[in-house]
C-alpha cells in the first residue's frame, strides 16, 4: 500500500508486476527516495499543475525545442520535462559508470581491430558478416589510424532496469548520440521550479560536460598542432537536434559551423571567418558519415565539406566520432558485446546484455517466427525507435505483416525478449496526478587519448503513454532530471 497520508500519491496506482524505482514490493518508499517523497508531499497537486506550466513555458521561451517530422509539416515541440527527478544511488551508479566505460573502450578496440588486422574475425569470435554485410562499414577507413587511436569519442549507452532489478544495456549509440543538452536543461529547469529539494541531497553537478568534452577532444588533435581549433558541425538550424548543437558549441566556447562555412585546400580544412580563412583541427561532427564529404560519399548532399575525407585520411583534421564508427552501432554487433569485451579487455562484462536472436541464422529465425508475440523485433540499422515492433502489442494481422517483412530480408532484423523497463512516478498532464511510467537511462561517455569521462547523470527518458515501452522523443517520450548521489 502506498502511504495515503501523502496527498499527491493518494491516487498512485502501483502495478505490482512492474519494478517501481521509488516503491519496493510492499509499497514502502525506498530509503533513497524517502526524503524527496516527504518534500514533494508538502505540495498540493495544484502546485504541480502550476509548476508544470511554468517549466513548459520556460523551455519554450528558451527555445529548447525540436522539430517533429510529419508527412505534411514540421512542428516545433518541447521535449516534455517531468518534475519528479530520478535518483541513482552511488552503489548503482558505480556499476553503470564502470560498465559504460568498459563498453566504450571495448568498442573502440573493436573498431580499431576491424579497420586494421581484423583479428577478432580471424579467430572466429565474431562472424565476418558483421563487416561484410554492414552498410556502415567504410572500406575507406581500412588501415586509417584516427588521431589518438580513438574512434568513438562520444558514446551514448541506453540502459534499462528490468523486473529483476538489474541493469541491462539495450543499445550503444556511437554515431551521433544526442540528448546531452537535455540533461543539463532538465537540471536547470528543476532547479528553477523546486530549488528547495536540492538542499537535502548531495547530487553531482552535470554542467561540467562541455569542458570535459572539449578537454578530451583536444587530446586527439592532429599531429603537429599545438593548440587545436575545435568546431562543432551541424546540418543546420532545421535539424531536430540543432538546439543541442548550438548548446554544445556555446558551452565549449567554439564555433558552430555548417558545411558551407568550411572548405578544404591542399588537404587542410579552413573556416570562412570575417578575417579570412582560419584553419580547423578538430571537428565534432553531428552529421552522419554518408553526408560528411559529397566527393567521397553521398554525392547529392550539400551538408558536408567537399574534400574533407581526404584531409582526414591525411591526418590533417580529427573527426569525432571517426567515420565508419557506425558499424559498431549496428544492433548485430550489440549481440556480440559480451564476447567483444572479454576478447579485448580480458574482463567480464559489468553491464548485462539482453539476449538477442539473429534472424540471419536459420534456427533463430525459426524461433523468432514461432514466438513473435513474446519478442521485440528491431531492424538492425535504424535509429530513433523507428521500425520497432513489440510482439505482444500486435494484432494477428500485424504479426503476419511483420513476419513477411522479416522473411524478405532476415539479415535486417534481430529479436529480443520483451524487457520490462522499470517504472517511475511521473506527473501526467491529462489526469493532473502522478502515475507509473516506464523509464530508461542514456549515459554519455567521452573517450580521449588515455582519458575518459562519464557524465554523472544522464538522460532518464520516460514513455509518457501509459504502458508504452518506447521512450524516444520522436515517439512522444519525455525526460526527467537524473540525480547521481555522492557517497
Amino acid at each position: 500500500m502506498v502511504n495515503l497520508e501523502n496527498q499527491i500519491f493518494s491516487s498512485y496506482k502501483r502495478n505490482p508486476v512492474l519494478f517501481d524505482e521509488i516503491f519496493d514490493k510492499n509499497g514502502q518508499v525506498k530509503d533513497v527516495y524517502s526524503k524527496l517523497f516527504t518534500l514533494y508531499g508538502e505540495h498540493s497537486i495544484k502546485d504541480y499543475v502550476n509548476l508544470n506550466e511554468k517549466a513548459k513555458s520556460s523551455f519554450f521561451n528558451q527555445g529548447i525545442t525540436f522539430q517533429v517530422y510529419d508527412k505534411k509539416k514540421t512542428e516545433e515541440k518541447i521535449f516534455p520535462f517531468d518534475l519528479f527527478p530520478r535518483i541513482i544511488p552511488p552503489e548503482e551508479w558505480n556499476i553503470i559508470e564502470s560498465g559504460a566505460i568498459q563498453r566504450s573502450r571495448a568498442l573502440n578496440l573493436f573498431l580499431w581491430d576491424i579497420y586494421h588486422d581484423k583479428k577478432i574475425i580471424r579467430q572466429g569470435i565474431v562472424p565476418m558478416d558483421l563487416i561484410s554485410s554492414s552498410a556502415n562499414y567504410l572500406d575507406q577507413m581500412n588501415k586509417v589510424d584516427p588521431p589518438g587511436g580513438i574512434y568513438n569519442h562520444i558514446s551514448g549507452t541506453d540502459i534499462i532496469k528490468h523486473t529483476d532489478g538489474q541493469y541491462y544495456v539495450l543499445e550503444d549509440n556511437i554515431r551521433c548520440p544526442s540528448g546531452v543538452s537535455y540533461v543539463i536543461c532538465n537540471r536547470t529547469a528543476l532547479k528553477r521550479a523546486l530549488f528547495g529539494v536540492f538542499n537535502h541531497y548531495k547530487t553531482y553537478s552535470v554542467t561540467n560536460y562541455a569542458e570535459n568534452l572539449l578537454d578530451l577532444l583536444e587530446t586527439v588533435k592532429p599531429k603537429g598542432v599545438d593548440i587545436p581549433n575545435v568546431v562543432v558541425i551541424t546540418p543546420g538550424m532545421f535539424n531536430s537536434a540543432f538546439y543541442e548543437h548550438s548548446y554544445l558549441a556555446k558551452t565549449m566556447g567554439v564555433e558552430l559551423v555548417e558545411g558551407r562555412d568550411l572548405f578544404v585546400e591542399n588537404d587542410f580544412v579552413y573556416m570562412k571567418t570575417i578575417q579570412g580563412p582560419q584553419k580547423v583541427d578538430v571537428i565534432y561532427r553531428r552529421i552522419d558519415d554518408a553526408f560528411i564529404d559529397p566527393l567521397e560519399f553521398k554525392p547529392d548532399s550539400s551538408l558536408g565539406v567537399p574534400g574533407l575525407f581526404a584531409a582526414y585520411k591525411k591526418g590533417n583534421v580529427t573527426l569525432a566520432n571517426a567515420p565508419g564508427t557506425g558499424v559498431a552501432d549496428d544492433k548485430a554487433v550489440y549481440t556480440y558485446m559480451p564476447e567483444i569485451i572479454r576478447y579485448y579487455l580480458n574482463e567480464e562484462p559489468i553491464l548485462n546484455n539482453v539476449h538477442t536472436y539473429h534472424c540471419s541464422r536459420p534456427k533463430e529465425l525459426k524461433y523468432v517466427l514461432e514466438h513473435i508475440e513474446t519478442l521485440v523485433i528491431k531492424p538492425v540499422d535504424e535509429a530513433g525507435g523507428y521500425g520497432i515492433s513489440i510482439g505482444n502489442r500486435l494484432s494477428k494481422k500485424e504479426i503476419e505483416v511483420v513476419k513477411a517483412q522479416i522473411l524478405l530480408n532476415p539479415r535486417k532484423y534481430v529479436a529480443q525478449p520483451i524487457m520490462s523497463l522499470s517504472v517511475h512516478p511521473t506527473y501526467i498532464d491529462k489526469t493532473e496526478s502522478f502515475e507509473q511510467r516506464h523509464v530508461d537511462l542514456r549515459t554519455f561517455t567521452v573517450l580521449g587519448k588515455d582519458k575518459e569521462f562519464v557524465l554523472k547523470g544522464g538522460l532518464t527518458r520516460v514513455a509518457l503513454k501509459r504502458g508504452n515501452l518506447i521512450v524516444n522523443s520522436s515517439q512522444g517520450g519525455g525526460s526527467k532530471d537524473t540525480w547521481v548521489l555522492k557517497t
Binding site: I121, R122, S133, G307, A310, K313, K314
Partner: protein, 285 residues
C-alpha cells in the same frame, strides 16, 4: 619493348541554369605501378578555376577543382604521358597444386584479407531468384576457370552503348543481356565473387589501335586474385586478358568506387556531361 602513351581525357559540362559554386573530383590519372611509369600531366580548363591534387579514400590520386565564379559551361582537358612496360599476362608461375589454391581461398584468413572484393555491392548484386549463371569447374585451375568466365561474360552480354547507363545495376543487365564495359565487368566480378575468387573493378584507358571495344571512353575491366599468382586482369568486353594496351587508373568494388568524375554543383537546373578519351602510343627508343 616499352611503349610511350599519350592520353587525353576531356569532359565538357553544360548547365541549364547558371552555377554559382562547384566542386569536381576527377579520378582519371593513370596509376603508377610496376608496369606503368608516369611521366607527366597537364590539366586545363576553359575557365580558370583552382585545382589541386589529392588522394581519395581508396588511395588513388585525384584532381580536385573548386570553381567560385558564376558560369554555365566548363570544359576540362587532362593530358597524360606515361611509359608502359610490355606485359605478357600469361607470364606467371601456374598454380603448383590446384587443391592447395582451393584450400587457400576457402580459409578464413583469405576471406578476411580480400573481404572488400568478395562481398556483393548494389551494382554487382545478383538476386537469389535468378538461375545460377556460371559455376566453376573445380577440376580445372582457378586461372582456367576465370578464362572461361571471361568468355562466358563476353558471350552473355551483347555490346550496346544505348542499352545502359552509369546507373544500371547488374540485375537489370541480366534481363536485357546488353551493355557496355562497365556491365561486362560487373557481371565478371559478381560471378568470380560468388565462386569465392576476389575480383575488383578496374577503370582505365584502352589503346584502341587493335580494334577493341572501348568506344573512345574510359574503359573498365576486372582484376581477379589468383592464389600464388596475384591480381590478374581480365577484359570480358573483349574476351582478352588485360595487357600492355590496358592503362589502369583505379580499382574498387564496383563502378561507384571508380567513377571518373564526381561533382557538387550549386545550381537549380539540369546538367549534361560529355566525356571523351584519346589514346596514342609510340614505341620507346
Amino acid at each position: 619493348m616499352p611503349l610511350e602513351y599519350f592520353i587525353t581525357y576531356k569532359a565538357e559540362n553544360t548547365y541549364e541554369e547558371p552555377v554559382h559554386e562547384a566542386y569536381w573530383q576527377f579520378l582519371v590519372i593513370p596509376e603508377e605501378n610496376e608496369s606503368q611509369q608516369f611521366i607527366g600531366i597537364d590539366f586545363n580548363s576553359s575557365i580558370n578555376p583552382k585545382f589541386e591534387f589529392s588522394i581519395n579514400g581508396y588511395g588513388f590520386k585525384t584532381i580536385r577543382v573548386h570553381m567560385k565564379q558564376k558560369f554555365e559551361q566548363i570544359a576540362f582537358e587532362a593530358r597524360f604521358r606515361l611509359i608502359k612496360k610490355e606485359i605478357n599476362p600469361f607470364d606467371f608461375t601456374p598454380e603448383a597444386d590446384k587443391s592447395k589454391s582451393i584450400e587457400k581461398i576457402q580459409g578464413l584468413n583469405f576471406k578476411v584479407d580480400y573481404e572488400a572484393f568478395l562481398k556483393t555491392t548494389p551494382y554487382t548484386y545478383i538476386p537469389y531468384t535468378k538461375n545460377i549463371l556460371f559455376e566453376f569447374d573445380w577440376g580445372n585451375s582457378i586461372f582456367d576457370n576465370l578464362i572461361a568466365l571471361n568468355s562466358y561474360t563476353y558471350r552473355y552480354i551483347q555490346f550496346n552503348t544505348k542499352a545502359t547507363d552509369v546507373h544500371t545495376t547488374l540485375n537489370e543487365v541480366l534481363d536485357i543481356h546488353q551493355g557496355v564495359c562497365q556491365d561486362f565487368t560487373h557481371l565478371f566480378c559478381a560471378l568470380a565473387r560468388t565462386n569465392g575468387i576476389p575480383a575488383r573493378y578496374v577503370s582505365g584507358y584502352l589503346h584502341q589501335g587493335n580494334g577493341y571495344f572501348g568506344d573512345l571512353q574510359m574503359h573498365a575491366w576486372a582484376e581477379a586474385y589468383i592464389p600464388y599468382a596475384g591480381w590478374i586482369g581480365f577484359d570480358p568486353t573483349n574476351d582478352i586478358l588485360a595487357a600492355t594496351n590496358h592503362i589502369k587508373v583505379a580499382h574498387g568494388k564496383d563502378y561507384s568506387d571508380c567513377s571518373p568524375l564526381k561533382g557538387v554543383v550549386y545550381t537549380s537546373g539540369k546538367n549534361q556531361t560529355v566525356h571523351s578519351v584519346q589514346v596514342n602510343s609510340q614505341d620507346q627508343q
